[in-house]
């Protein structure tokens, strides 16, 4: 799943900036990355994080108020490690007022929608625009269609996600926190796309 996409145009402009400003650690072998999850309420943001960090899935997880934090480190094949500092934000629309607090300085934004809800896909597009306007210019964005296990209820076509992601220079993947499908792949792919601190 997922489609190739080039990194953001903004990258070249931002070479001069210190990486740390972007929330990523300086050590070439051990990266620290601030990641923020955004998306409509109930699309499964918390579930994705819980699946990734704890390997658990709870169909009746509780409402996130404000934002919650978890961190997880993964090792890549080239023997670098990436420590994700994950901010899982509240989904309700009005909490968007607080979102800048969390996406400011984030190196990665994962925008999640529910493949059974076109509305959540619209909301995801809102977030993409918001981040393009207010996020870090070299932010790595991933578009995630969650609940991929509910195929029979699908209302957002894979192609829609792919197209939108491609148009906006994002990385796209469909996941299922329930079945753990593509969850680790999502984070590994993000890790690969991170701008590495070149020479320090």
């Amino acid at each position: 799943m997922g489609c190739g996409s080039s990194l953001l145009d903004g990258d070249s402009r931002q070479l001069g900036r210190p990486i740390s400003e972007n929330g990523a650690g300086q050590d070439a072998k051990n990266l620290r990355v601030k990641l923020v999850l955004l998306g409509d309420s109930g699309v499964g943001k918390s579930c994705i994080v819980l699946r990734f960090v704890r390997g658990q899935f709870d169909p009746t997880s509780k409402v996130t108020v404000g934002a919650s934090f978890l961190s997880q480190t993964i090792a890549l094949q080239d023997s670098t490690t990436v420590k994700f500092e994950i901010w899982d934000t509240a989904g309700q629309e009005r909490y968007a007022a607080l979102a800048p607090l969390y996406y400011r300085g984030a190196a990665v934004a994962v925008i999640v929608y529910d493949i059974t809800s076109p509305e959540s896909f619209t909301k995801a597009q809102y977030w993409v625009k918001e981040l393009q306007k207010h996020g870090s210019p070299d932010i790595v964005m991933a578009l995630v269609g969650n609940k991929a296990d509910l195929l029979e209820k699908r209302e957002v076509a894979v192609q829609d996600g792919t197209d939108y992601a491609e148009k906006n220079g994002m990385f796209f993947i469909e996941t299922s926190a329930k079945t753990a499908d593509n969850i680790n792949e999502l984070f590994e792919e993000i890790a690969k796309r991170l701008p590495r601190p070149s020479v320090s």
């Binding site: 300086q26 309420s41 009746t60 108020v65 404000g66 961190s71 901010w87 009005r94 007022a97 607090l101």
Partner: protein, 868 residues
């Protein structure tokens, strides 16, 4: 009041129920609260605490350790509170003292009764079958206070006759019982009661769990099933008289607030609600009310300090629901049938102006219902229905807030502690007043509070904040959700409830700040040791989540941060509000709904100016609306004159307003413009400081990066140095060893040389000797040859003589002597001489012998030489 719902009940109020002896005004509360539906089964599961809330597995052990402490504390505070309430009631009701004492003795019976009664509290048969209430030791001690009070009340109504009256009886009483009680007149506060009681009974026609099937208790006694229905009927209930004293005191602050806003009657209040004013009410009200808390209330109530320390010590579990209601002033807030009306417009009112927004909230509420305390035993289908009704009713009540995530938890919590309508009014009090502006669309107050908190943090814990700055952690990342959730799901439940006790008692958000500061005080030292942002936040979250020592937390908060007062917060609020407004305006400019900033403008105005009357307030709102419209048309909110004129033009259409109103409106407009100007200036300042901050931060980041890099290099170099030193040491050792080896070999060589020299010398000596020996040998040989030749010659001579002379004697004797002179030349003269002497005797033999032994002289000479 819905008659249809009453019909359901008609079966409930059967003859048997009416036959029951009416006991007291008191309705036994716990029976209608969701929490009371909890049973031992929730406690049997390790993963839930005694409130039925889920425990995180990593804290389960700690919770178990603390549960005995909680129990002890609970016992202690139950006693304290019952003493206190007794005293308070006594002071207002001197006659009841004896009865109190008597009722305290009755306690054990009450407990039994309770056990017997419990099954009726359950809302359906399913629960019934699963539950063994005889196991409810946990609850029985809690029950003591309430039972004591209840039976006290009972007795004050009934006299001494009904000691063994069961709670069942009391609960099932109808209107007549309350009348009777009132006529008994033992209660001083009763003056207000008749109305309230009848309200309660009215609302009782609404089934608290009306959605649930009522007929599934087939196998039960008629008596019991009827009891149960009666319980379910209760949706609104009065609190017990002993707590009413407190309620009266606190209700005064609610009433004053209402008066301040010019709302005297309930109907007015209802009307104002529809015109979306409660928000402004709240802001104004909390201000006015705080003054009341600070000054008037303590004077009104002589035991204020005592009560305060009791509250800080915690409210007993079974009193909590009622005490909270008293603090929030639920009774005073309540508008009869308002809640019912809100629920009733459920289906009909969808074409309302706010229908789009309302639909959104409704959807969100539906999403969140199963995600509110998931798995809590009391939040079954019925519980969730109550929760849904409450949240929907509130969304209608205050469309400025509608529904915001986090509110589901508060509503759920309140429903666990009190009947549905009581919970609704408590909820209204908390959200509309204490947390006014917190959960609105722009969440403005919440953002302001975060700025305030950060400032307080910098003031109190500069080191910690510096460290967090260094790690790149913003305080608001963490504290934001603390404040928004009022610590629900943040700290353990016992602590949440203790914090809420104080918060509701104080009636403002001061406790929020104090608690957050206390948490930082408790865990700051640990945080300072962390090395990166992720670790710091993870550590803080887990430490905060294990704050089981609720007393420590509350006392640290209340004693340690006395300087954090409402006045101080107000000051800080005014300081930080503009910057938040700027940001919000920024956002709204960028294509967001205008509505937000309109609300903000209104609020801003209301912050700065006291309105004289409600009328003016109305006009203000209208005026702002028009201004907003005008601005909307010109698609900008900047405050230049052109726009003002255009908005004036818009407004001039409304010439119907009389001049006075216009003047008022113009004043408002002027104010608004002034505000705009001020905010523009502030914004400029803000931007400037922000820029400075950014530059500073930039530098700091670069510097810290540089320092880190340098440190790393240093470390590397040091490591290299250490390596080199090690190598050197190793080399030295090798060298030393080599040197030693060398020395040894040198010694050996020298010794060998010496030996060689010695040997050479010896060789030399031997050679010399050898040469000498050879010389002497050569000499000897010569001599031997000479001797031999001489001997031969002699022999020849002798043989010649013997041949010629036949006298051998004479010749023979002469011959050696003859030979002698020649021999004297050689070195062996002596030997020869000696031999010659010997030869003189055995002549014959001698000749043969000398011939025979030619080597012997040589031998002897050798001998002589070696002897030399």
């Amino acid at each position: 009041m819905a008659a249809t719902r009453g019909n359901i009940l008609s079966t409930a109020t059967t003859a048997t129920a009416k036959l029951q002896k009416p006991a007291a005004t008191e309705v036994d509360f716990p029976k209608f609260m969701l929490l009371s539906l909890l049973s031992k089964r929730s406690l049997e599961v390790d993963s839930r605490d005694s409130y039925g809330f889920a425990l995180r597995p990593q804290y389960a052990q700690t919770y178990r350790e603390y549960s005995s402490i909680y129990r002890e504390e609970e016992d202690e505070r139950s006693d304290k509170w019952s003493d206190f309430l007794e005293l308070v009631v006594d002071s207002s009701q001197p006659t009841s003292e004896n009865e109190h004492k008597q009722t305290l003795k009755v306690e054990p019976e009450s407990d039994e009764v309770r056990e017997e009664t419990n099954p009726h509290r359950l809302s359906n048969g399913d629960d019934l079958s699963r539950t063994k209430f005889s196991e409810l030791e946990e609850e029985t001690y809690v029950v003591r206070v309430s039972e004591g009070d209840d039976s006290n009340d009972k007795k004050s109504a009934e006299g001494n006759e009904i000691i063994e009256e069961t709670i069942l009886d009391r609960v099932s009483k109808g209107d007549d019982s309350s009348d009777k009680q009132t006529s008994g007149g033992n209660e001083i506060k009763v003056g207000t009661i008749p109305g309230r009681v009848s309200e309660g009974d009215d609302s009782s026609s609404r089934n608290f769990v009306s959605d649930s099937a009522t007929g599934n208790n087939s196998g039960k006694e008629l008596h019991h099933s009827e009891e149960r229905k009666t319980h379910k009927v209760q949706r609104w209930a009065e609190i017990r008289p002993s707590v009413i004293v407190i309620e009266e005191i606190f209700s005064s602050r609610v009433m004053k607030r209402n008066k301040m806003n010019g709302i005297n009657g309930n109907n007015n209040h209802l009307a104002s609600i529809e015109e979306s004013e409660p928000l402004d009410d709240g802001l104004e009200g909390s201000r006015a009310e705080n003054a009341l808390v600070d000054q008037n209330l303590p004077k009104l109530f002589t035991r204020w300090k005592e009560l305060e320390s009791l509250v800080q010590g915690g409210v007993p579990k079974d009193l909590r629901g009622e005490v909270w209601q008293a603090f929030v002033g639920v009774k005073t807030r309540r508008v009869e049938s308002y809640y019912e009306d809100l629920l009733a417009c459920n289906e009909s009112d969808e074409q309302n102006v706010s229908s789009a927004a309302f639909g959104k909230w409704k959807k969100q509420i539906e999403k969140d219902l199963p995600r509110t305390f998931p798995g809590h035993p009391a939040l079954d289908e019925n519980g969730r229905n109550s929760l849904r009704r409450l949240l929907l009713a509130y969304a209608r009540h205050n469309p400025d807030v509608g529904y915001c995530q986090a509110m589901n938890f508060f509503a759920g919590l309140l429903l666990l502690l009190m009947p549905e309508e009581n919970a609704f009014w408590a909820f209204v009090g908390i959200i509309d007043e204490y947390f006014a502006g917190y959960y609105t669309e722009d969440m403005i107050e919440s953002q302001v509070d975060q700025l305030i908190f950060e400032e307080l943090m910098r003031e109190r814990f500069p080191k910690l904040v510096n460290h967090l700055d260094y790690l790149g952690v913003q305080v608001a990342w963490i504290s934001g959700s603390w404040f928004l959730s009022i610590f629900v799901n943040v700290i353990p439940w016992e602590s949440v409830l203790r914090v809420w006790d104080v918060l509701l008692f104080e009636g403002n958000r001061v406790m929020l700040f104090r608690t957050a500061l206390a948490l930082m005080e408790l865990y700051g030292p640990a945080l300072v040791t962390t090395k990166d942002a992720g670790d710091a936040i993870t550590l803080l979250q887990s430490l905060v989540g294990s704050t089981f020592d609720s007393s420590q937390l509350v006392f640290t908060a209340c004693m340690g941060y006395l300087a954090v007062t409402e006045a101080r917060l107000k000051e800080l609020r005014e300081k930080h509000l503009p910057s938040v407004l700027v940001v919000i305006e920024e956002r709204s400019k960028k294509g967001r709904a205008w509505k937000d900033s309109k609300g903000v403008a209104t609020k801003l105005y209301s912050f700065k100016h006291d309105r004289g009357s409600l009328v003016e307030e109305r006009k203000l709102t209208e005026g702002s609306d028009k201004v907003a419209d005008g601005n909307l048309q010109s698609e900008s909110n900047s405050s230049n004159l052109d726009e003002m004129l255009s908005s004036l033009n818009v407004d001039s259409e409304l010439d119907s307003l009389d001049l006075q109103e216009q003047v008022v409106w113009l004043k408002v407009e002027l104010c608004r413009l002034l505000e705009d100007k001020r905010s523009a200036i502030l914004r400029a300042e803000e931007l400037e400081t922000a820029l400075m901050e950014m530059v500073k931060e930039d530098n700091r980041l670069q510097l810290s990066a540089r320092v880190e890099q340098l440190e790393q290099e240093l470390a590397e170099l040091q490591e290299a140095l250490a390596d080199k030193k090690e190598q050197e040491a190793a080399m030295l050792q090798v060298l030393v060893r080599l040197e030693q080896d060398q020395k040894v070999t040198e010694d050996a060589r020298r010794r060998a040389e010496q030996e060689l020299a010695a040997q050479k010398y010896e060789v030399h000596v031997i050679q010399e000797k050898y040469e000498k020996a050879m010389q002497s040998i050569a000499e000897m040989q010569k001599r031997v040859v000479m001797a031999e030749s001489m001997l031969e010659a002699t022999l020849q001579y002798e043989s010649g003589q013997s041949k010629a002379l036949s006298s051998p004697r004479a010749g023979h004797a002469h011959s050696p002597r003859f030979e002698n002179p020649s021999r004297k030349v050689g070195l062996l003269s002596f030997g020869l001489g000696w031999r010659d002497r010997n030869k003189g005797k055995p002549n014959a033999e001698e000749s043969s012998e000398s011939l025979h032994n030619n080597g012997s002289p040589r031998k002897e000479s050798d001998k002589q030489e070696t002897n030399r």
